[in-house]
Symmetry: C2
Subunit: 408 residues, 2 copies
Amino acid sequence: MPVNLAPPRPEDLLPVKGVALGVAEAGVRKANRKDLLVMRLAEVANVAGVFTQNRFCAAPVILCREHLALRPARALVVNTGNANAGTGEDGLARARKTCAELSLLLGCDSTQILPFSTGVIMEPLPVERIVAALPHALADCRADNWAGAAEAIMTTDTVPKACSRRVELRGKTVTVTGIAKGAGMIHPDMATMLGFVATDAAVSRAALQRMLAEATARSFNRITVDGDTSTNDSFILLATGAAGTPRIDATNHPDYAALAAAVAEVAVWLAQAIIRDGEGATKFITVKVAGGKTEDECSRVAFGIAHSPLVKTAFFASDPNLGRLLCAIGNAAIPELDVGRVALYLGDVLVARDGGRNPAYREEDGQRVMQQSEITVRVDLARGAAQTTVWTCDLSHDYVSINADYRS
Amino acid sequence: MPVNLAPPRPEDLLPVKGVALGVAEAGVRKANRKDLLVMRLAEVANVAGVFTQNRFCAAPVILCREHLALRPARALVVNTGNANAGTGEDGLARARKTCAELSLLLGCDSTQILPFSTGVIMEPLPVERIVAALPHALADCRADNWAGAAEAIMTTDTVPKACSRRVELRGKTVTVTGIAKGAGMIHPDMATMLGFVATDAAVSRAALQRMLAEATARSFNRITVDGDTSTNDSFILLATGAAGTPRIDATNHPDYAALAAAVAEVAVWLAQAIIRDGEGATKFITVKVAGGKTEDECSRVAFGIAHSPLVKTAFFASDPNLGRLLCAIGNAAIPELDVGRVALYLGDVLVARDGGRNPAYREEDGQRVMQQSEITVRVDLARGAAQTTVWTCDLSHDYVSINADYRS
């Protein structure tokens, strides 16, 4: 059961001019489910992407990087059920085949197709079934199909993830709409498993890449379910320019900040949705670390807490076994950390200070916060001005069940 | 249920001349269980220790380091049920009180007592109950009490962990006997939660510290249950000299290698026993990584596999979902790793090569290995001569149950 996350209402998802989305049942791994998505782009669209740092990155990730460097993209194609990762040269050939077939149908070059896959690793991609379903996905393409697209890219997700924002750029309204998938193997290092955000604003490729990097740093790179970085992480930001607003060609353009804020807002919403739907999640945990010398050391403390299986099982049990939080802070290997100055809060409750438990702390106060489905942990390192925020979930029996049974 | 680990038979545990062990029920956290251990040492004994790198290290760890630097130790005192970690100045005062009271009973200086605690973090140590039980533990002291000692230091352990080796040093027999505890919060960075190994050989302090560091590097620093480094990790090697063998005063002494090998053998046995009894463990996994440029990069790959919750749940399910192993290898962030050269074996089965699945691999072969209770994963990075081995266990429902319920 996801934590306070409802499926998007289709009417809340705003079409983005210049983007059409179509889905189909290709039968990649299972029959009778939508597992193929095609996103067609207007000719003038710009696309920026960030990708997994995993050395065994998937074949479609390798092709995506290549294609983005060559030509403006005309379409994205996404399949679930098979990651096409750990598949060597044969996997690259199958991803190329998918691009080639779609480009024939669209009358463009095959390098104008960006491929994405997600699912089981080290299995051959059933490319013939995907190719056979491409015409159906194209026939389904329409601008108001974001809800269908969000559903088609789900794997162990229990809820489709999508949201929209509107922003005014000098009197004209532009739209930002995004979708993402992911629930396990989530510790993005550039991006989540798959995320796609589109706007009809006009943005140069360089400004778009910068906007994407900023949004990623504040969203998908600040979440973890299980500390495992996927082979297929890809986060794509595309700008069709179809709204007719002035082209944003640099970060000092007067419209840059407003659009970047909307893009980041959508990215943060999607990243948090992935945590709310984290495999087996029963609690949504926000970890805020402040008072660090650098943002990096704040991150190490925050992820130290967010990755600790002992902290995560205590949250699952609603047990204020808060020594495990101190232990996780101590494990972050911060040089010369004075533990006597560290303050630890659970919600609004001051739990630890002066290197030990706050004398005023009462177990029932910790218990009260622990019962909540949304909990904030705050750490003050009291040695600088840097800070960061990370989102994670608890570790429950269902996480083990889901991952012990995933392939079966 | 531990994996192929039986309780030690008391008759297999060899007394070490110069060491007497006594246990008592102090009622630290629960009534009617042995939770206090005192180890008395002969006057000429040397003691070496390695300790946790956790910044929130426990009060007894701080005192132990201090005392080891000051005077020869005469006794060790260990309590379970309370870690006396995250307890600030008050925790230090309580640990000092324990040492002072025991030193009065033994007629030595309080800095000749080495204190150890394990259990719940951030709770005040019930020092009065410990002090009250010290005379009972002293009255129980005897040389053939290693089995009782191994039992008295257990927390979430299901099996006491102890073993002995004999080694001939120029015609004379010396003994090495050790005990350890630990099942969760196990990713030692110097030591396991608590380990004590004694020998009646005579070894200088410097040579003993070197021997301890070598044994630790090959044993306790090569295991992980859940990637959480405890606040209380301590591993102690003590040499009483009571066997009357020539004093080993340097690593080039003719007896050094033979004794060091026996000490390492005991340490490896104890470290593996901790994994076999890992919280919720149903499988004992050996991860061997070879062909690295450095041992450090082999370690990063090996612990990358050993820490991955997705790999560990696949082992729990006996599911050869081996793409998760490739993903974990890829996450180790080895610079310029050529994944096309990496080979992955599960037991004797070649699973992956040339960047993808071995064409000759058959699912039933992987399934056959996965059914076993002891499984070896081998990775060949094919870029150098370095290698390492790490031991871990699977991640099961019982791990979540044990850690969700631990305090209750």
